[in-house]
Protein backbone atom coordinates (compact mmCIF):
# COMPACT_ATOMS: atom_id res chain seq x y z
CA UNK A 1 0.00 0.00 0.00
CA UNK A 2 2.61 2.53 1.05
CA UNK A 3 6.35 2.45 0.80
CA UNK A 4 9.30 4.75 0.96
CA UNK A 5 12.46 3.58 -0.65
CA UNK A 6 15.98 4.89 -0.13
CA UNK A 7 14.48 8.18 1.00
CA UNK A 8 16.93 11.05 1.32
CA UNK A 9 15.57 14.47 2.22
CA UNK A 10 16.84 17.80 3.46
CA UNK A 11 15.55 21.01 4.96
CA UNK A 12 17.39 24.24 4.15
CA UNK A 13 20.25 22.17 2.70
CA UNK A 14 20.59 20.24 5.91
CA UNK A 15 20.29 16.51 5.30
CA UNK A 16 17.70 15.03 7.62
CA UNK A 17 16.67 11.71 6.12
CA UNK A 18 19.47 9.49 4.89
CA UNK A 19 18.06 6.46 3.18
CA UNK A 20 14.81 5.35 4.80
CA UNK A 21 13.04 2.15 3.79
CA UNK A 22 9.51 1.41 4.99
CA UNK A 23 6.90 -0.85 3.49
CA UNK A 24 3.40 -0.66 4.92
CA UNK A 25 0.81 -3.19 3.85
CA UNK A 26 -2.96 -2.70 4.13
CA UNK A 27 -4.23 -3.00 7.68
CA UNK A 28 -0.80 -2.71 9.30
CA UNK A 29 0.15 -0.35 12.09
CA UNK A 30 3.76 0.82 12.08
CA UNK A 31 5.23 2.78 14.95
CA UNK A 32 8.23 5.02 14.45
CA UNK A 33 10.18 5.91 17.54
CA UNK A 34 13.44 7.67 18.03
CA UNK A 35 15.24 10.43 19.87
CA UNK A 36 14.62 14.11 19.25
CA UNK A 37 15.93 15.37 15.96
CA UNK A 38 16.13 11.94 14.37
CA UNK A 39 13.83 12.91 11.46
CA UNK A 40 10.45 11.47 12.51
CA UNK A 41 8.41 14.60 11.88
CA UNK A 42 10.36 15.36 8.71
CA UNK A 43 9.31 11.98 7.37
CA UNK A 44 5.67 12.62 8.30
CA UNK A 45 5.62 16.10 6.74
CA UNK A 46 7.41 14.93 3.63
CA UNK A 47 4.83 12.23 3.03
CA UNK A 48 2.03 14.78 3.47
CA UNK A 49 3.67 17.13 0.95
CA UNK A 50 4.72 20.06 3.10
CA UNK A 51 6.76 22.72 1.35
CA UNK A 52 10.30 23.40 2.45
CA UNK A 53 11.35 19.78 2.41
CA UNK A 54 13.54 18.66 -0.45
CA UNK A 55 13.43 15.10 -1.63
CA UNK A 56 17.00 14.43 -2.73
CA UNK A 57 16.77 10.78 -3.57
CA UNK A 58 14.40 7.84 -3.40
CA UNK A 59 10.66 7.56 -3.82
CA UNK A 60 7.38 7.69 -1.94
CA UNK A 61 4.81 5.33 -3.35
CA UNK A 62 1.16 5.02 -2.42
CA UNK A 63 -0.96 2.30 -3.98
CA UNK A 64 1.60 1.92 -6.72
CA UNK A 65 1.71 5.64 -7.56
CA UNK A 66 4.73 7.83 -6.98
CA UNK A 67 3.29 10.72 -4.97
CA UNK A 68 6.43 12.73 -4.42
CA UNK A 69 5.43 15.38 -6.95
CA UNK A 70 1.82 15.68 -5.87
CA UNK A 71 0.37 18.70 -4.08
CA UNK A 72 -0.71 18.23 -0.46
CA UNK A 73 -4.41 18.26 -1.36
CA UNK A 74 -3.85 15.67 -4.07
CA UNK A 75 -2.21 13.36 -1.55
CA UNK A 76 -5.06 13.95 0.88
CA UNK A 77 -7.59 13.13 -1.79
CA UNK A 78 -5.76 9.89 -2.51
CA UNK A 79 -6.32 8.98 1.12
CA UNK A 80 -3.25 10.14 3.03
CA UNK A 81 -3.87 11.92 6.31
CA UNK A 82 -1.40 13.57 8.66
CA UNK A 83 -2.44 14.25 12.26
CA UNK A 84 -0.26 17.23 13.15
CA UNK A 85 2.02 17.35 16.13
CA UNK A 86 1.16 21.03 16.45
CA UNK A 87 -2.24 21.61 14.84
CA UNK A 88 -2.47 25.09 13.35
CA UNK A 89 -4.98 27.51 14.83
CA UNK A 90 -6.78 29.52 12.16
CA UNK A 91 -8.79 32.37 13.54
CA UNK A 92 -11.99 33.22 11.69
CA UNK A 93 -12.27 29.85 9.92
CA UNK A 94 -15.20 28.05 11.44
CA UNK A 95 -14.33 24.48 12.45
CA UNK A 96 -17.57 23.09 11.04
CA UNK A 97 -17.19 24.94 7.74
CA UNK A 98 -13.64 23.66 7.47
CA UNK A 99 -14.65 20.06 8.20
CA UNK A 100 -17.45 20.18 5.67
CA UNK A 101 -15.15 21.65 3.01
CA UNK A 102 -12.52 19.00 3.68
CA UNK A 103 -15.06 16.21 3.74
CA UNK A 104 -16.61 17.23 0.45
CA UNK A 105 -13.24 17.68 -1.22
CA UNK A 106 -12.28 14.14 -0.30
CA UNK A 107 -15.72 12.80 -1.21
CA UNK A 108 -15.48 14.47 -4.60
CA UNK A 109 -12.11 12.80 -5.18
CA UNK A 110 -13.66 9.47 -4.25
CA UNK A 111 -16.43 10.04 -6.77
CA UNK A 112 -19.07 10.55 -4.08
CA UNK A 113 -21.69 13.29 -3.96
CA UNK A 114 -21.03 16.17 -1.57
CA UNK A 115 -22.96 16.31 1.67
CA UNK A 116 -25.12 19.33 2.33
CA UNK A 117 -24.73 21.22 5.58
CA UNK A 118 -27.35 19.23 7.48
CA UNK A 119 -26.03 15.83 6.44
CA UNK A 120 -22.47 16.94 7.06
CA UNK A 121 -23.30 18.08 10.59
CA UNK A 122 -25.03 14.79 11.35
CA UNK A 123 -22.10 12.82 9.95
CA UNK A 124 -19.52 14.84 11.86
CA UNK A 125 -21.43 14.86 15.13
CA UNK A 126 -21.72 11.09 15.03
CA UNK A 127 -17.95 10.86 14.85
CA UNK A 128 -17.43 13.45 17.55
CA UNK A 129 -18.91 11.01 20.02
CA UNK A 130 -16.04 8.63 19.40
CA UNK A 131 -13.52 11.20 20.62
CA UNK A 132 -15.81 12.65 23.28
CA UNK A 133 -15.46 16.11 21.82
CA UNK A 134 -17.66 18.98 22.95
CA UNK A 135 -20.07 20.02 20.22
CA UNK A 136 -19.44 23.73 20.82
CA UNK A 137 -15.94 23.24 19.42
CA UNK A 138 -17.54 22.82 16.01
CA UNK A 139 -18.76 26.39 16.02
CA UNK A 140 -15.49 27.89 17.12
CA UNK A 141 -12.63 29.01 14.92
CA UNK A 142 -10.42 26.14 13.87
CA UNK A 143 -8.20 25.16 16.81
CA UNK A 144 -8.36 28.74 18.10
CA UNK A 145 -8.44 28.80 21.88
CA UNK A 146 -8.51 25.00 21.98
CA UNK A 147 -6.59 23.28 24.74
CA UNK A 148 -3.79 20.92 23.74
CA UNK A 149 -6.08 17.94 24.28
CA UNK A 150 -8.92 19.51 22.29
CA UNK A 151 -6.60 20.14 19.37
CA UNK A 152 -5.49 16.51 19.33
CA UNK A 153 -9.08 15.30 19.57
CA UNK A 154 -9.91 17.59 16.66
CA UNK A 155 -7.13 15.98 14.65
CA UNK A 156 -8.53 12.54 15.31
CA UNK A 157 -12.02 13.79 14.52
CA UNK A 158 -10.76 14.97 11.13
CA UNK A 159 -9.29 11.54 10.56
CA UNK A 160 -12.58 9.89 11.48
CA UNK A 161 -14.46 12.22 9.14
CA UNK A 162 -12.11 11.94 6.17
CA UNK A 163 -11.64 8.18 6.49
CA UNK A 164 -8.17 8.03 4.98
CA UNK A 165 -6.45 4.89 3.74
CA UNK A 166 -3.18 5.83 5.40
CA UNK A 167 -3.10 7.87 8.59
CA UNK A 168 0.13 9.27 9.94
CA UNK A 169 -0.09 10.35 13.56
CA UNK A 170 2.76 12.68 14.44
CA UNK A 171 3.19 12.62 18.22
CA UNK A 172 -0.54 12.66 18.74
CA UNK A 173 0.04 11.57 22.34
CA UNK A 174 2.07 14.63 23.29
CA UNK A 175 0.22 16.89 25.68
CA UNK A 176 -2.56 14.41 26.40
CA UNK A 177 -3.58 13.34 29.87
CA UNK A 178 -4.24 9.66 30.59
CA UNK A 179 -7.97 9.80 29.89
CA UNK A 180 -7.57 11.83 26.74
CA UNK A 181 -4.90 9.45 25.53
CA UNK A 182 -7.30 6.54 25.91
CA UNK A 183 -10.10 8.43 24.16
CA UNK A 184 -7.89 9.39 21.25
CA UNK A 185 -6.57 5.84 21.04
CA UNK A 186 -10.11 4.48 21.00
CA UNK A 187 -10.82 6.76 18.06
CA UNK A 188 -7.84 5.37 16.20
CA UNK A 189 -8.72 1.78 17.06
CA UNK A 190 -12.23 2.40 15.79
CA UNK A 191 -10.69 3.23 12.43
CA UNK A 192 -8.51 0.15 12.20
CA UNK A 193 -9.52 -2.07 9.36
CA UNK A 194 -7.90 -4.49 6.91
CA UNK A 195 -7.87 -1.76 4.28
CA UNK A 196 -6.50 1.06 6.39
CA UNK A 197 -2.93 1.52 7.59
CA UNK A 198 -1.35 3.68 10.25
CA UNK A 199 2.07 5.14 10.87
CA UNK A 200 2.35 6.30 14.44
CA UNK A 201 5.20 8.62 15.34
CA UNK A 202 5.77 8.68 19.08
CA UNK A 203 8.31 9.06 21.81
CA UNK A 204 6.51 6.90 24.30
CA UNK A 205 5.44 3.31 24.54
CA UNK A 206 2.28 4.30 26.49
CA UNK A 207 0.39 5.20 23.27
CA UNK A 208 1.33 1.81 21.88
CA UNK A 209 -0.27 0.19 24.92
CA UNK A 210 -3.56 1.40 23.51
CA UNK A 211 -2.81 1.07 19.80
CA UNK A 212 -0.90 -2.14 19.36
CA UNK A 213 1.52 -1.83 16.46
CA UNK A 214 2.46 -4.61 14.09
CA UNK A 215 5.93 -3.18 13.61
CA UNK A 216 8.13 -0.80 15.54
CA UNK A 217 10.98 1.06 13.85
CA UNK A 218 13.69 3.09 15.50
CA UNK A 219 14.74 6.16 13.55
CA UNK A 220 18.02 7.73 14.46
CA UNK A 221 20.11 10.28 12.58
CA UNK A 222 17.90 9.96 9.53
CA UNK A 223 18.04 6.20 9.25
CA UNK A 224 16.02 3.28 10.54
CA UNK A 225 18.52 1.48 12.69
CA UNK A 226 16.28 -1.18 14.16
CA UNK A 227 12.93 -2.73 13.43
CA UNK A 228 10.91 -5.17 15.47
CA UNK A 229 7.53 -5.72 17.03
CA UNK A 230 5.80 -4.34 20.12
CA UNK A 231 8.46 -5.92 22.32
CA UNK A 232 10.96 -3.45 20.87
CA UNK A 233 8.86 -0.54 22.13
CA UNK A 234 8.80 -2.07 25.60
CA UNK A 235 12.57 -2.47 25.58
CA UNK A 236 13.05 1.13 24.43
CA UNK A 237 10.80 2.36 27.21
CA UNK A 238 12.84 0.44 29.74
CA UNK A 239 16.35 0.94 28.44
CA UNK A 240 16.25 4.00 26.21
CA UNK A 241 18.12 4.32 22.91
CA UNK A 242 21.67 3.98 24.19
CA UNK A 243 21.91 0.23 23.80
CA UNK A 244 21.25 0.55 20.05
CA UNK A 245 24.61 2.28 19.61
CA UNK A 246 26.52 -0.59 21.12
Amino acid sequence: MFSVSNLHASVDDKKILKGIEIDVKPGEVHAIMGPNGSGKSTLANLVAGKYGYTLNEGSITFNGQDISDLEPEERACLGIFLAFQYPVAISGVNNMVFLQAALNSVRKARGELPLDAMDAIAFIKERMKLVEMKSDLLQRSLNTGFSGGEKKRNEILQMLVLEPKLAILDETDSGLDIDALKTVSDGVNHMRSPNRSFIIVTHYQRLLDHIKPDFVHVLKDGKIIKSGNYELALKLEKEGYGWLDQ
Binding site: A48, G49, K50, Y51, E71, P72, E73, R75, A76, C77, F81, L82, F84, P87, V88, I90, S91, G92, V93, V97, F98, A101, A102, S105, V106, A109, S141, L142, Q158, L162
Partner: protein, 397 residues
Protein backbone atom coordinates in the same frame (compact mmCIF):
# COMPACT_ATOMS: atom_id res chain seq x y z
CA UNK B 1 3.69 57.15 -15.16
CA UNK B 2 3.48 56.44 -11.47
CA UNK B 3 7.17 56.93 -10.89
CA UNK B 4 7.40 60.12 -12.87
CA UNK B 5 4.48 61.70 -11.09
CA UNK B 6 5.78 60.79 -7.70
CA UNK B 7 9.16 62.16 -8.67
CA UNK B 8 7.58 65.38 -9.78
CA UNK B 9 5.62 65.55 -6.56
CA UNK B 10 8.77 65.04 -4.56
CA UNK B 11 10.67 67.65 -6.54
CA UNK B 12 8.01 70.19 -5.87
CA UNK B 13 8.28 69.67 -2.13
CA UNK B 14 4.70 69.52 -1.10
CA UNK B 15 5.47 69.86 2.55
CA UNK B 16 5.06 73.57 2.11
CA UNK B 17 2.69 73.82 -0.76
CA UNK B 18 0.57 70.84 -1.71
CA UNK B 19 -1.94 72.68 -3.77
CA UNK B 20 0.17 74.49 -6.29
CA UNK B 21 2.27 71.51 -7.08
CA UNK B 22 -0.59 69.11 -7.39
CA UNK B 23 -2.59 71.59 -9.38
CA UNK B 24 0.08 71.94 -12.02
CA UNK B 25 0.46 68.21 -12.23
CA UNK B 26 -3.24 67.75 -12.45
CA UNK B 27 -3.59 70.14 -15.35
CA UNK B 28 -1.07 68.16 -17.35
CA UNK B 29 -2.44 64.77 -16.43
CA UNK B 30 -4.77 62.64 -18.46
CA UNK B 31 -7.88 61.09 -17.03
CA UNK B 32 -8.13 58.68 -15.37
CA UNK B 33 -4.89 56.84 -14.77
CA UNK B 34 -2.50 59.71 -14.20
CA UNK B 35 -4.94 61.62 -12.09
CA UNK B 36 -5.46 58.58 -9.96
CA UNK B 37 -1.77 58.47 -9.32
CA UNK B 38 -1.80 62.08 -8.27
CA UNK B 39 -4.64 61.26 -5.95
CA UNK B 40 -2.73 58.38 -4.49
CA UNK B 41 0.22 60.61 -3.82
CA UNK B 42 -1.86 63.48 -2.56
CA UNK B 43 -3.64 61.27 -0.13
CA UNK B 44 -0.42 59.86 1.16
CA UNK B 45 0.59 63.41 1.90
CA UNK B 46 -2.66 63.95 3.70
CA UNK B 47 -1.96 60.97 5.80
CA UNK B 48 0.88 62.90 7.31
CA UNK B 49 -1.05 66.12 7.56
CA UNK B 50 -4.54 64.85 7.30
CA UNK B 51 -6.41 67.88 8.45
CA UNK B 52 -4.98 70.52 6.25
CA UNK B 53 -6.59 70.14 2.88
CA UNK B 54 -10.06 69.29 3.93
CA UNK B 55 -10.55 72.19 6.28
CA UNK B 56 -11.61 75.13 4.22
CA UNK B 57 -12.47 78.12 6.30
CA UNK B 58 -14.13 80.02 3.53
CA UNK B 59 -16.35 77.11 2.73
CA UNK B 60 -17.23 76.73 6.35
CA UNK B 61 -18.36 80.32 6.36
CA UNK B 62 -20.41 79.75 3.24
CA UNK B 63 -22.04 76.84 4.96
CA UNK B 64 -22.78 78.93 7.99
CA UNK B 65 -24.60 81.53 5.90
CA UNK B 66 -26.98 78.88 4.70
CA UNK B 67 -27.24 77.05 7.95
CA UNK B 68 -30.60 75.56 8.61
CA UNK B 69 -31.59 73.26 11.36
CA UNK B 70 -34.08 70.49 11.04
CA UNK B 71 -35.58 68.40 13.72
CA UNK B 72 -35.69 64.85 12.41
CA UNK B 73 -37.36 63.20 15.32
CA UNK B 74 -39.34 60.69 13.25
CA UNK B 75 -37.61 57.40 12.96
CA UNK B 76 -38.96 56.84 9.48
CA UNK B 77 -37.20 59.64 7.71
CA UNK B 78 -34.45 59.26 5.22
CA UNK B 79 -32.01 61.83 4.06
CA UNK B 80 -31.25 61.96 0.39
CA UNK B 81 -28.59 64.07 -1.16
CA UNK B 82 -28.53 64.03 -4.94
CA UNK B 83 -25.91 65.88 -6.94
CA UNK B 84 -24.89 67.86 -3.92
CA UNK B 85 -28.38 68.86 -2.96
CA UNK B 86 -30.38 67.52 -0.07
CA UNK B 87 -33.84 66.77 -1.28
CA UNK B 88 -37.13 66.52 0.50
CA UNK B 89 -37.86 63.17 -1.03
CA UNK B 90 -41.30 62.52 -2.41
CA UNK B 91 -40.50 59.13 -3.85
CA UNK B 92 -42.86 56.61 -2.37
CA UNK B 93 -40.31 54.22 -1.03
CA UNK B 94 -38.51 56.87 0.91
CA UNK B 95 -40.33 59.02 3.38
CA UNK B 96 -40.23 62.76 3.06
CA UNK B 97 -38.70 65.00 5.55
CA UNK B 98 -41.46 65.33 7.98
CA UNK B 99 -40.31 68.50 9.64
CA UNK B 100 -39.36 71.67 7.88
CA UNK B 101 -37.81 71.85 4.50
CA UNK B 102 -34.29 71.82 3.38
CA UNK B 103 -32.84 74.85 1.74
CA UNK B 104 -30.59 73.13 -0.71
CA UNK B 105 -27.79 75.39 -1.58
CA UNK B 106 -25.59 74.98 -4.58
CA UNK B 107 -22.31 76.67 -4.04
CA UNK B 108 -19.92 76.98 -6.87
CA UNK B 109 -16.57 76.99 -5.22
CA UNK B 110 -14.66 79.84 -6.65
CA UNK B 111 -11.38 79.44 -4.97
CA UNK B 112 -10.91 75.96 -3.76
CA UNK B 113 -8.40 73.50 -4.98
CA UNK B 114 -10.70 71.30 -6.89
CA UNK B 115 -12.55 74.05 -8.62
CA UNK B 116 -9.27 75.38 -9.89
CA UNK B 117 -8.70 71.98 -11.33
CA UNK B 118 -11.89 72.21 -13.31
CA UNK B 119 -14.17 70.46 -10.89
CA UNK B 120 -17.55 71.91 -10.26
CA UNK B 121 -18.46 71.79 -6.63
CA UNK B 122 -21.99 71.14 -5.51
CA UNK B 123 -22.59 71.69 -1.86
CA UNK B 124 -25.23 71.34 0.74
CA UNK B 125 -25.62 71.15 4.41
CA UNK B 126 -28.02 69.52 6.83
CA UNK B 127 -28.40 69.20 10.52
CA UNK B 128 -29.68 66.22 12.41
CA UNK B 129 -30.69 66.78 15.95
CA UNK B 130 -32.02 63.98 18.09
CA UNK B 131 -33.95 65.37 20.99
CA UNK B 132 -33.33 64.31 24.57
CA UNK B 133 -34.35 60.72 25.17
CA UNK B 134 -35.40 60.16 21.52
CA UNK B 135 -34.27 57.39 19.23
CA UNK B 136 -33.68 57.93 15.55
CA UNK B 137 -32.77 55.39 12.92
CA UNK B 138 -31.77 57.21 9.79
CA UNK B 139 -30.46 56.35 6.38
CA UNK B 140 -28.58 58.82 4.26
CA UNK B 141 -28.09 58.31 0.55
CA UNK B 142 -25.55 60.50 -1.19
CA UNK B 143 -25.68 60.21 -4.94
CA UNK B 144 -23.63 61.96 -7.56
CA UNK B 145 -22.92 60.53 -10.95
CA UNK B 146 -22.02 63.55 -13.04
CA UNK B 147 -18.57 63.24 -14.43
CA UNK B 148 -15.99 65.67 -13.09
CA UNK B 149 -18.39 66.93 -10.45
CA UNK B 150 -17.54 67.37 -6.87
CA UNK B 151 -20.20 67.29 -4.19
CA UNK B 152 -19.70 68.60 -0.73
CA UNK B 153 -22.00 67.32 1.91
CA UNK B 154 -21.86 68.55 5.41
CA UNK B 155 -23.83 67.02 8.20
CA UNK B 156 -24.03 68.34 11.69
CA UNK B 157 -25.30 65.80 14.13
CA UNK B 158 -26.32 66.61 17.63
CA UNK B 159 -27.43 63.75 19.82
CA UNK B 160 -28.90 65.15 22.97
CA UNK B 161 -28.80 63.66 26.44
CA UNK B 162 -29.77 60.00 26.58
CA UNK B 163 -30.80 60.07 22.95
CA UNK B 164 -29.74 57.50 20.38
CA UNK B 165 -28.98 57.88 16.71
CA UNK B 166 -28.24 55.13 14.26
CA UNK B 167 -27.22 56.46 10.90
CA UNK B 168 -26.38 54.45 7.82
CA UNK B 169 -24.67 56.39 5.09
CA UNK B 170 -24.47 55.08 1.57
CA UNK B 171 -22.43 57.02 -0.95
CA UNK B 172 -22.64 56.58 -4.70
CA UNK B 173 -20.30 58.71 -6.76
CA UNK B 174 -18.84 56.68 -9.54
CA UNK B 175 -17.72 59.37 -11.95
CA UNK B 176 -17.42 62.09 -9.41
CA UNK B 177 -16.01 62.83 -5.99
CA UNK B 178 -18.00 63.13 -2.82
CA UNK B 179 -16.62 65.10 0.07
CA UNK B 180 -18.61 64.18 3.11
CA UNK B 181 -18.00 66.02 6.33
CA UNK B 182 -19.78 65.12 9.52
CA UNK B 183 -19.60 66.97 12.79
CA UNK B 184 -20.96 64.85 15.58
CA UNK B 185 -21.69 65.91 19.09
CA UNK B 186 -23.02 63.33 21.50
CA UNK B 187 -24.18 64.75 24.76
CA UNK B 188 -24.07 63.10 28.16
CA UNK B 189 -25.47 59.60 28.13
CA UNK B 190 -26.31 59.71 24.44
CA UNK B 191 -25.16 57.26 21.84
CA UNK B 192 -24.47 57.50 18.15
CA UNK B 193 -23.78 54.75 15.71
CA UNK B 194 -22.75 55.40 12.13
CA UNK B 195 -22.27 52.79 9.44
CA UNK B 196 -20.70 54.14 6.29
CA UNK B 197 -20.47 52.25 3.04
CA UNK B 198 -19.87 53.17 -0.55
CA UNK B 199 -21.13 51.74 -3.77
CA UNK B 200 -18.56 50.20 -6.11
CA UNK B 201 -16.03 52.57 -7.64
CA UNK B 202 -17.15 55.56 -5.63
CA UNK B 203 -14.64 58.26 -4.85
CA UNK B 204 -14.79 59.67 -1.38
CA UNK B 205 -13.18 62.17 0.86
CA UNK B 206 -14.58 61.99 4.35
CA UNK B 207 -13.76 64.30 7.16
CA UNK B 208 -15.45 63.85 10.49
CA UNK B 209 -15.22 65.55 13.83
CA UNK B 210 -16.67 63.81 16.84
CA UNK B 211 -17.16 65.31 20.25
CA UNK B 212 -18.19 62.88 22.97
CA UNK B 213 -19.41 64.33 26.21
CA UNK B 214 -19.55 62.49 29.53
CA UNK B 215 -20.71 58.87 29.25
CA UNK B 216 -21.49 59.29 25.58
CA UNK B 217 -21.07 56.34 23.26
CA UNK B 218 -19.95 56.40 19.69
CA UNK B 219 -19.64 53.56 17.23
CA UNK B 220 -18.38 53.95 13.69
CA UNK B 221 -18.14 51.19 11.12
CA UNK B 222 -16.18 52.23 8.04
CA UNK B 223 -17.10 49.87 5.24
CA UNK B 224 -16.24 51.83 2.13
CA UNK B 225 -14.28 48.91 0.79
CA UNK B 226 -15.85 48.98 -2.65
CA UNK B 227 -14.86 52.58 -3.28
CA UNK B 228 -12.24 53.36 -5.89
CA UNK B 229 -10.70 55.90 -3.57
CA UNK B 230 -11.54 56.61 -0.02
CA UNK B 231 -9.71 58.99 2.22
CA UNK B 232 -11.28 59.20 5.61
CA UNK B 233 -10.25 61.30 8.54
CA UNK B 234 -11.83 61.26 11.96
CA UNK B 235 -10.88 63.60 14.74
CA UNK B 236 -12.49 62.72 18.01
CA UNK B 237 -12.48 64.04 21.53
CA UNK B 238 -13.46 61.61 24.26
CA UNK B 239 -15.05 62.91 27.43
CA UNK B 240 -15.29 61.44 30.89
CA UNK B 241 -16.42 57.79 30.89
CA UNK B 242 -17.29 58.14 27.22
CA UNK B 243 -16.53 55.31 24.86
CA UNK B 244 -15.73 55.17 21.18
CA UNK B 245 -15.39 52.13 18.99
CA UNK B 246 -14.21 52.59 15.44
CA UNK B 247 -13.88 49.62 13.15
CA UNK B 248 -13.17 49.33 9.48
CA UNK B 249 -12.47 47.00 6.64
CA UNK B 250 -10.24 48.02 3.76
CA UNK B 251 -10.10 45.83 0.66
CA UNK B 252 -8.22 47.76 -2.02
CA UNK B 253 -7.50 45.89 -5.21
CA UNK B 254 -6.03 47.20 -8.44
CA UNK B 255 -6.61 50.91 -8.90
CA UNK B 256 -8.18 51.32 -5.49
CA UNK B 257 -6.87 53.09 -2.44
CA UNK B 258 -8.28 53.42 1.03
CA UNK B 259 -6.87 55.57 3.80
CA UNK B 260 -7.96 55.97 7.36
CA UNK B 261 -6.59 58.65 9.63
CA UNK B 262 -8.05 58.42 13.11
CA UNK B 263 -7.28 60.76 15.93
CA UNK B 264 -8.75 60.04 19.36
CA UNK B 265 -8.03 62.68 21.94
CA UNK B 266 -8.89 61.74 25.51
CA UNK B 267 -9.59 64.94 27.38
CA UNK B 268 -11.28 63.63 30.55
CA UNK B 269 -10.94 60.69 32.95
CA UNK B 270 -11.96 57.11 32.28
CA UNK B 271 -12.76 57.35 28.60
CA UNK B 272 -12.42 54.39 26.30
CA UNK B 273 -11.49 54.25 22.65
CA UNK B 274 -10.84 51.39 20.30
CA UNK B 275 -9.61 51.64 16.73
CA UNK B 276 -9.74 48.35 14.90
CA UNK B 277 -8.98 48.30 11.20
CA UNK B 278 -8.32 45.31 8.96
CA UNK B 279 -7.00 45.49 5.42
CA UNK B 280 -6.62 43.04 2.58
CA UNK B 281 -4.68 44.53 -0.32
CA UNK B 282 -4.33 42.99 -3.74
CA UNK B 283 -3.18 44.03 -7.22
CA UNK B 284 -1.66 47.49 -6.84
CA UNK B 285 -4.23 48.47 -4.23
CA UNK B 286 -3.19 50.75 -1.41
CA UNK B 287 -4.39 50.57 2.18
CA UNK B 288 -3.24 52.96 4.86
CA UNK B 289 -4.08 53.29 8.52
CA UNK B 290 -2.81 56.10 10.65
CA UNK B 291 -4.30 55.90 14.08
CA UNK B 292 -3.41 58.11 16.95
CA UNK B 293 -4.64 58.13 20.51
CA UNK B 294 -3.66 61.04 22.70
CA UNK B 295 -4.15 60.75 26.43
CA UNK B 296 -3.81 64.11 28.06
CA UNK B 297 -2.87 64.99 31.63
CA UNK B 298 -6.52 65.43 32.40
CA UNK B 299 -7.46 61.88 31.38
CA UNK B 300 -6.42 59.30 34.00
CA UNK B 301 -8.01 55.82 33.86
CA UNK B 302 -8.21 56.06 30.09
CA UNK B 303 -8.39 52.84 28.13
CA UNK B 304 -7.18 53.46 24.58
CA UNK B 305 -6.51 50.69 22.09
CA UNK B 306 -5.55 50.35 18.47
CA UNK B 307 -5.31 47.28 16.32
CA UNK B 308 -4.39 47.34 12.65
CA UNK B 309 -3.91 44.13 10.75
CA UNK B 310 -3.25 43.75 7.07
CA UNK B 311 -2.89 40.99 4.54
CA UNK B 312 -0.88 41.59 1.40
CA UNK B 313 -1.86 39.31 -1.45
CA UNK B 314 0.36 40.63 -4.21
CA UNK B 315 3.80 42.07 -4.70
CA UNK B 316 2.48 45.34 -6.13
CA UNK B 317 0.08 46.25 -3.35
CA UNK B 318 0.96 48.77 -0.66
CA UNK B 319 0.02 48.80 2.98
CA UNK B 320 0.91 51.50 5.46
CA UNK B 321 0.18 51.08 9.12
CA UNK B 322 0.97 53.56 11.82
CA UNK B 323 -0.76 53.13 15.16
CA UNK B 324 0.47 55.74 17.61
CA UNK B 325 -0.06 56.40 21.27
CA UNK B 326 0.80 59.65 22.95
CA UNK B 327 0.38 59.35 26.70
CA UNK B 328 0.95 62.22 29.09
CA UNK B 329 -0.19 60.59 32.30
CA UNK B 330 0.25 57.43 34.36
CA UNK B 331 -2.60 55.21 35.45
CA UNK B 332 -3.95 54.47 32.01
CA UNK B 333 -4.36 51.35 29.92
CA UNK B 334 -3.21 51.71 26.36
CA UNK B 335 -2.41 49.15 23.72
CA UNK B 336 -1.52 49.31 20.12
CA UNK B 337 -0.75 46.57 17.69
CA UNK B 338 -0.06 46.26 14.03
CA UNK B 339 0.68 43.36 11.75
CA UNK B 340 1.22 43.18 8.03
CA UNK B 341 1.88 39.92 6.29
CA UNK B 342 1.08 37.41 3.63
CA UNK B 343 -1.16 34.40 3.98
CA UNK B 344 0.22 32.03 6.60
CA UNK B 345 1.95 29.18 4.77
CA UNK B 346 1.51 26.83 7.73
CA UNK B 347 -2.21 27.46 7.74
CA UNK B 348 -2.35 26.99 3.98
CA UNK B 349 -0.60 23.63 4.27
CA UNK B 350 -2.88 22.58 7.08
CA UNK B 351 -5.99 23.21 4.99
CA UNK B 352 -4.51 21.64 1.89
CA UNK B 353 -3.44 18.56 3.81
CA UNK B 354 -7.15 17.97 4.37
CA UNK B 355 -7.90 17.90 0.64
CA UNK B 356 -8.87 21.56 0.20
CA UNK B 357 -7.32 22.94 -2.99
CA UNK B 358 -5.02 25.93 -3.00
CA UNK B 359 -7.51 28.54 -4.20
CA UNK B 360 -10.17 27.36 -1.80
CA UNK B 361 -7.64 27.30 1.04
CA UNK B 362 -6.56 30.86 0.25
CA UNK B 363 -10.17 31.97 0.12
CA UNK B 364 -10.85 30.37 3.49
CA UNK B 365 -7.88 32.12 5.07
CA UNK B 366 -8.85 35.50 3.62
CA UNK B 367 -12.42 34.97 4.71
CA UNK B 368 -11.23 33.97 8.16
CA UNK B 369 -9.09 37.07 8.40
CA UNK B 370 -11.97 39.29 7.34
CA UNK B 371 -14.34 37.48 9.64
CA UNK B 372 -12.32 38.66 12.62
CA UNK B 373 -13.46 42.18 11.92
CA UNK B 374 -16.85 41.44 10.36
CA UNK B 375 -17.99 39.53 13.42
CA UNK B 376 -17.13 42.62 15.40
CA UNK B 377 -19.33 44.93 13.35
CA UNK B 378 -22.88 45.95 13.86
CA UNK B 379 -25.08 42.83 13.74
CA UNK B 380 -27.38 44.33 11.16
CA UNK B 381 -24.63 44.79 8.61
CA UNK B 382 -22.82 41.51 9.12
CA UNK B 383 -24.89 39.48 6.68
CA UNK B 384 -24.97 42.38 4.25
CA UNK B 385 -21.22 42.72 4.27
CA UNK B 386 -20.66 38.99 3.87
CA UNK B 387 -22.87 39.03 0.82
CA UNK B 388 -20.93 41.96 -0.65
CA UNK B 389 -17.52 40.38 -0.29
CA UNK B 390 -16.61 37.96 -3.02
CA UNK B 391 -13.64 36.27 -1.47
CA UNK B 392 -12.49 34.58 -4.64
CA UNK B 393 -12.34 37.95 -6.36
CA UNK B 394 -10.39 39.48 -3.53
CA UNK B 395 -7.97 36.59 -3.58
CA UNK B 396 -7.19 36.78 -7.27
CA UNK B 397 -3.56 37.61 -7.77
Amino acid sequence: MTDSIIKQCLQKDYAGNHLDGLKSLWEDATWPSSKQEIWRYAKLQWLNEPWELVTRKETQEAYNVHLKQYDLSSNETDLVCIQGKFLPNSVDEISCFSHGHLDANHVRWSDDFFNQLGWLGLSDWANIEVAEGKHLDQQLHCMLDQENKWQNIKLTINVKKNAHLRLRINTISVHAVTNLSINVQVEAGGSCQIVSWASPQSKLLMDHNVDLKDRAEFRYDALNFEAAWCHERIYMTVGSHASAYLAGLLLPSSGQSDHKAIHAHHIAPAGQSMQKFYSVANGNGLAAFHGRAIVGHEAPKTDARQLARALMLSKACEVYSRPELEIDIDDVQCQHGSSIGELDTKALFYLRSRGIDLNEAKAMLIEGFIEEIVSDLDQAVQSWIRSRITIHEIGKV
